[in-house]
Symmetry: C2
Subunit: 406 residues, 2 copies
Amino acid sequence: MENLIVQKYGGTSVGSFERIEAVADNIANTHKKGNDVVVVLSAMAGETDKLIQLAKSIQPEPEPREYDALISTGEQISVALMAMALTKRGIKSKSYTAYQLGIKTNDRHSQARILEVNVDRLKDDLSEGSVPVITGFQGMTEGGDITTLGRGGSDTTGVALAVALNANQCEIYTDVEGVFTTDPRICPKAKLIERISFEEMLELSSTGAKVLQLRSVEYASKNNMPIRVLSSFKEGNGTLVCEEGNDMEKPVVSGISSIDNEAKLTIRGVPDIPGVAAKILGPISDSDIDVDVIVQNISAENNTDFTFTVKQEDASRAKEILENTSKSLGGGLIELDDDIAKISIVGRGMRGQSGIASKMFESLADNEINILMITTSEIKISVVIRKDLQEKAVNALHNAFELDKD
Amino acid sequence: MENLIVQKYGGTSVGSFERIEAVADNIANTHKKGNDVVVVLSAMAGETDKLIQLAKSIQPEPEPREYDALISTGEQISVALMAMALTKRGIKSKSYTAYQLGIKTNDRHSQARILEVNVDRLKDDLSEGSVPVITGFQGMTEGGDITTLGRGGSDTTGVALAVALNANQCEIYTDVEGVFTTDPRICPKAKLIERISFEEMLELSSTGAKVLQLRSVEYASKNNMPIRVLSSFKEGNGTLVCEEGNDMEKPVVSGISSIDNEAKLTIRGVPDIPGVAAKILGPISDSDIDVDVIVQNISAENNTDFTFTVKQEDASRAKEILENTSKSLGGGLIELDDDIAKISIVGRGMRGQSGIASKMFESLADNEINILMITTSEIKISVVIRKDLQEKAVNALHNAFELDKD
């Protein structure tokens, strides 16, 4: 049986004619080496934003169903152009929209989840030596409406097709060389990671590493589909994201992620009674606001200070809700602070190892970085600090855990 | 039962945000008067040409299947924006691609013909008081590929939906006020026609009048679906294209059309034997070149001079084919002349009336316009003349048949 590879290329990878031609060369090379290839594309860089502007000039808060119908045209353009570029190279190729293939999703517009993928047409094409090129980022509801999967959704389309086709590997081509120990723009010593487990990648993606969409990693992990993250601009082997093998080393810390787009909300002096957390967070999640870090402390007077973080764009709405809650609970003032950053260290070697947390806190203390909040999971420790210390903290921790060393 | 109107708007009618808003107002007015409305849209003016440029920069002769997939995104953008603009006005609205509705066509890409229209979803929407907005110009094959219907194809989509929905009328909104006695840019005295029969409209469309796509008129005529041609820029009743009624006047000449994009090919001195026309034209049509006017004359020496017209873009290819034919038939030289215009007068009052042709020829003679070719049908007479006399001829005939009078 042939080797089957699903290749997904992001928006900057197909952002111009020259880029489409360069990517077509790469696909042609993979195909000529005797591999079966299925291609998934994002919209050409800038195209989706242009369409969003179009929508907003008609309706500031566009109808979700129509918004998805509109922006799904971006990928339809890039796949048709790519199929032409491949045909020009003597390779049989056909483009498909998610609608044509019947990539079924739920009906949560702009944030839809893939439920079912039909790959019969793709299998027919592959058996004829053809290279199918498929729109990423989109799907259709059972009722026949067009949906989109949210930013980075093309990664998930790539993984879902790889799983459905039982591919050998899913290659995600992007504008960086792979997964780094931390963001190289923040820390110049950041090193490319050759291999990382699904579990660690999940933690890194969920705490700010942008290289892979979180849902695509979940999907790959659940179905054990190895992902290779590569640059479409530069030669290299990139990073293999796969199941943890016995042969893999277990670095204490594999990577460091950070984000600065959250805000911290505190409600002071809430009576410490059972169910108070639910009473505070219930109305927040009812308003579709995602809560990230949550910390609750009991103060001296047996009152509770309750603090959590949300996305900055949701912060003022969350504050309003909290003010109402505080009134009914007899709580105190609400504080809002959007001048924060969250730094996370991730490593499966952390499991069962003590001393990692204190090493992290010591390193931050040595650099005079005050910790505002702490939260931990089995293979991750996150701290919230002042935003202006973000870069200093990432570099300090990168040094402390010697991530620049082999 | 409600009055059901299908409204089709062309590319210039939806060519900008302001235009989309203006058209949305017009749709909203029609809807508020208690009519059920189904809308068909072209791509925003310029959008399709932009996509064609994109395709040609990748592949000078783009793959037909991919070309259709690419340019069909133009209408998808305009229908989604229109559905938003209607929703903003408090009118329920959903956009549909031809693919979503299942508008089935044959598989002749870029020139596809509609075979079947499924309107179940539209009926459901209408029963809920919603206004469906549908991409014109496109369809899908039985096998699930995207097709387009060729320039002006949105008119046909409009008529096909009107027929399938058993609508009361199909309104075609364009950038002119309706059907004129002749092209107002050529003849300033041209008058708006209030009402014209399908039969005459067919002859006018097939001889150069661009206001309605020929196929849409055929479709409407076959299914007796009245079309009203209107301006989306200017108030007015436009032109009603419908079955000839007993109450309709029968003007001798209803309209004058003209084209200047054809070329004339002549093969001289062909032996006058049976089947010679087929031998000359067979290889031409085998090469997918459409032949328009055909004239054959027997010369004094019992040889035939054979002349016909083709589109200018096909002329040099046709000449090559003719040169081969001439060799094998023992014919003479081939002459190519692309400096010609064809003028047609159309009127159902012509039927059974003698003297119309001679009146036409006299008028041209009085204006010193030499006739190169003549061809007639039951309700039409066409002449081929020198191109530089086109305007003079149209104006002379418009006067001679008093088309500026009531």
